[in-house]
Amino acid sequence: MPAQSVKFYQVGSRAVGNRLLDAELRTEQSSADRRNSITSGHRACQGCGEALGARYVLDTAARVTGGRLVTVNATGCLEVFSTPYPESAWQVPWLHSLFANAASVASGVAAALEAQGRTDIRVLAQGGDGGTVDIGFACLSGMFERGDDVLFVCYDNEAYMNTGVQRSGATPAYARTATTEAVGPIPGSRPGQGKDLPRIAMAHEIPYVATATVAELRDLEAKVEKAMSMRGPRYLHVLVPCPLGWGSAPAETVRLARLAQRSGLFPVFEAEHGEVTSVLPIRDRIPVEEYLRPQRRYAHLFNDPPRTDLIERIQQIADRNVARYHLNPHEAPRETPLEISHEEGA
């Protein structure tokens, strides 16, 4: 092949692989020898974003640690679909904790390893949004403030999917769940409630906090690799769409994660010691409606007549994210933060 200086690779860094790239520049997921930390036969639903996200995270974590990795798993979808007795889909050492205490168990594993002088073995704890932002919150906060050497990964599908789609502290405004029905003047999940866990984690000023989605594989792999290169408490929050709970087609999982990022509703960034250090800029921004419309959990916003007032409020949330994290390179940073109205009714 003649010498060439062109750095243009058809699909660039967006696709999983790229035959035009040198092998060492390719993703872990494109490798024919990737570990498949969660192997086939698991009972996740068709098009499960969490099964995908967990494999993405763990395959990279296992590679960069050379397989010297212990994982701890809070109760939740991931645990249930991967280990119905007597089967296990795990190809990495894996401990199942209670719903609430994955962070504490991981802290204990890290402490035990340290006591044995085996600090080459790394600890990764994982849970869904329920086990992270609600039930396991105290344990996680303790893990952060004690400075334990654990990477905690939250696979956020924005509700308790495993038990039948109940609202969690990560459920977004106006989304229908089994416990927030689409009735009344403010249908679905109440706005102004819930928790923004990446920002809460940043408030602990831990070494590393990052968000990612299953639609941006390279970004996700880079963040796992970076997190595993650091010591101390680290937190990674991955958006994993759930076809069952979101009422979306299984084939749309990756696309919805992409639309969430492109709309600004899910800001993708990383922070060190409490300060944002980089953001994934929005390549081509879309109105939130494009993200909301394919999901049945938002169907009540698109009835006749549509709830344009509520869609507008969701748009305001996206706008505030874009302003707060400077997500759109084409928009000048705002001088004053955007206010979002939370009054009832419209």
Partner: protein
């Protein structure tokens, strides 16, 4: 179950659970027909050779290209590239510069001396090709590749037909043309120049004949003219100029007609020293048969267009023009309004006719509308005599002619073997809607450098420049590989069930139906739209 102490579940033991049973639909890899391939009159697998060029393997890409078309360097200059008009990327930013990459590959081959493949062993069959234009040469090439002995006869002194005697050198330098024709004839094709064929019934010793004599007769239209008015045919002007002549035309030249030949004639007149060249055409630009590329080139060079006009009378130094009007059917109708147009010479470019005297003596051959009729296998009514190119009903272009030659060769080969050529199975077209264009990098087209208009009209230098190695690679990589897998690993990556495995055969991937749950994530995320979902067979 044999597991270590304190381990209750075997690692990876979920694989006993065949989740493939959940499936109601399954993904299958497909090869759809890319719109560029569909649009190519020469039958090139454009997406195929671009795929190879993307890897920088230009020689292999060139080999794939010349399988259909032995003249990439010529085509890269003169083809009107319907492939680019059809290109799906045009709906994203700009069409891929297929034509410029083709030219680059063609030039690389000439520069590096790449040779055409070795023909198949001699079949002992002999085919006579009448006419050494693009159609005849293309047929000869394909027949030769199939192992048949080919003799080409042409009335002209040199091979190339209209490529040599009509296309101006500023569009097609003759060293490029010579290089590609010489390489082709060197395969062992017997070329006989200055040998017009007048009576086919007198030819013996051939198993089949391919007629490709073109349309070389200037269409005669009666233009009342003073005896000393300077009137000449466009083909004559182009032929003389291409042969190195410099016909005297005067300061102002009118060209009568609206086809590609008219554009070439007007552009040639400018280069021969005419201060002004005016195209007189009876309809409007929208209804002009000339290709838009040629019209734009002509306008850039300062050629004036006189629409809705016919020449009523030609005098020395002046023409009488009648203004026309389009009726509701779009047919130009005379208005009776006359005006004078100063012109030292009038060039007639009113179309070209086929000299079909050659087939008039052959029983069974039909001539309709001035062109020779052929069946779906390109055979005339006389068994064993095939015809193609400008002499049969078709859009007249070099690209179409090359396609005819190749198609005729396939049919002749089948006929020689006593069979009938089977058409390629129809493939569904890879439409834009099936693509997931998110994955393609933003990349505006590369534009080939072009001479300034002022420089252009001063001599016969080639107007359009080349891509270099880097820009050609960039341009090739803009291809979205519509409807055909290009190995991006997206399907392999996005499967939550690890049910896509990498294999060394076929598309490079296989679906593990034991575990595929049929979620179709691979289908949605395939950039090229190269995976379909089909109902699960019973």
């Amino acid at each position: 179950m044999d597991t270590p102490f304190a381990i209750t579940l075997g690692p990876g033991s979920s694989s006993v659970n065949r989740t493939g049973t959940w499936r109601t639909e399954r993904p299958v890899y497909v090869d759809r027909l890319p719109p560029c391939n569909q649009a190519c009159p020469a039958g090139e697998n454009v997406q195929g050779w671009l795929y190879t060029a993307e890897e920088g393997d230009y020689q292999t890409a060139w080999r794939q290209l010349v399988a259909a078309n032995p003249f990439p360097a010529v085509m890269g200059r003169v083809c009107y590239h319907p492939c680019e008009t059809a290109c799906n990327r045009a709906q994203l930013d700009h069409a891929v510069g297929i034509n410029s990459v083709e030219e680059f590959l063609g030039d690389e081959a000439i520069r590096r001396g790449w040779v055409l493949p070795t023909p198949a062993p001699d079949t002992g069959k002999r085919v006579l090709v009448v006419g050494a234009g693009p159609s005849g040469l293309s047929a000869a090439y394909q027949l030769c590749m199939l192992g048949h002995h080919v003799e080409i006869r042409d009335s002209a002194a040199r091979p190339g037909g209209m490529m040599r005697y009509a296309i101006p050198t500023f569009r097609l330098p003759r060293d490029v043309l010579d290089a590609e024709i010489d390489r082709l004839l060197a395969l062992g094709i017997d070329f006989r120049p200055n040998t017009p064929v007048t009576d086919l019934t007198a030819e013996h010793g051939f198993d089949a004949v391919f007629l490709a004599v073109g349309a070389q007769l200037a269409h005669r239209a009666y233009v009342p003219a003073a005896q000393s008015a300077r009137i000449l045919d466009a083909l004559e002007l182009l032929g003389d100029t291409a042969a190195g002549g410099r016909p005297l035309l005067g300061r102002t030249v009118a060209v009568y007609g609206g086809g590609n030949t008219a554009m070439d004639a007007a552009r040639t007149a400018r280069r021969l020293g005419a201060d002004e060249a005016i195209i007189v055409y009876r309809r409007t630009r929208e209804r002009m048969p000339a290709n838009d590329i040629e019209v734009t080139d002509a306008l850039e060079e300062g050629i004036r267009m006189k629409w809705l006009s016919t020449v009523k009378h030609a005098d020395v130094g002046v023409l009488t023009i009648e203004r026309m009007e389009l009726d509701e059917k779009g047919v130009p109708q005379p208005t009776g309004e006359l005006e004078e147009l100063r012109a030292d010479a009038l060039v007639l470019a009113l179309g070209q006719d086929v000299d079909h005297t050659l087939v008039d003596t052959l029983p069974g051959v039909r001539v309709e509308g001035g062109v020779v009729q052929v069946d779906g296998h390109m055979m005339t009514g006389y068994p064993g005599v095939f015809a193609g190119g400008d002499m049969v009903p078709s859009a007249r272009s070099v690209t179409v002619a090359i396609g005819h030659g190749a198609a005729a060769a396939r049919n002749i080969d089948a006929w020689l073997r006593g069979t009938v050529a089977t058409p390629e199975p129809e493939r569904e077209v890879a439409t834009f809607e099936r693509l997931n264009t998110w994955y393609y990098s933003d990349a505006p087209e590369t534009v080939r450098p072009r001479l300034d208009a002022a420089r252009r009209v001063s001599d016969f230098a080639e107007v359009t420049g080349r891509l270099d190695v880097d820009t050609a690679l960039y341009e090739a990589r803009r291809c979205m590989s519509c409807g055909n897998c290009f190995g991006c690993d997206n399907c392999y990556g996005v499967c939550p069930d690890n049910a896509i495995v990498k294999v060394r055969t076929g598309h490079g991937y296989a679906i593990d139906l034991d575990y595929c749950k049929g979620c179709a994530l691979c289908v949605t995320e395939c950039p090229a739209g190269a995976i379909d979902m089909i109902p699960e067979p019973d």
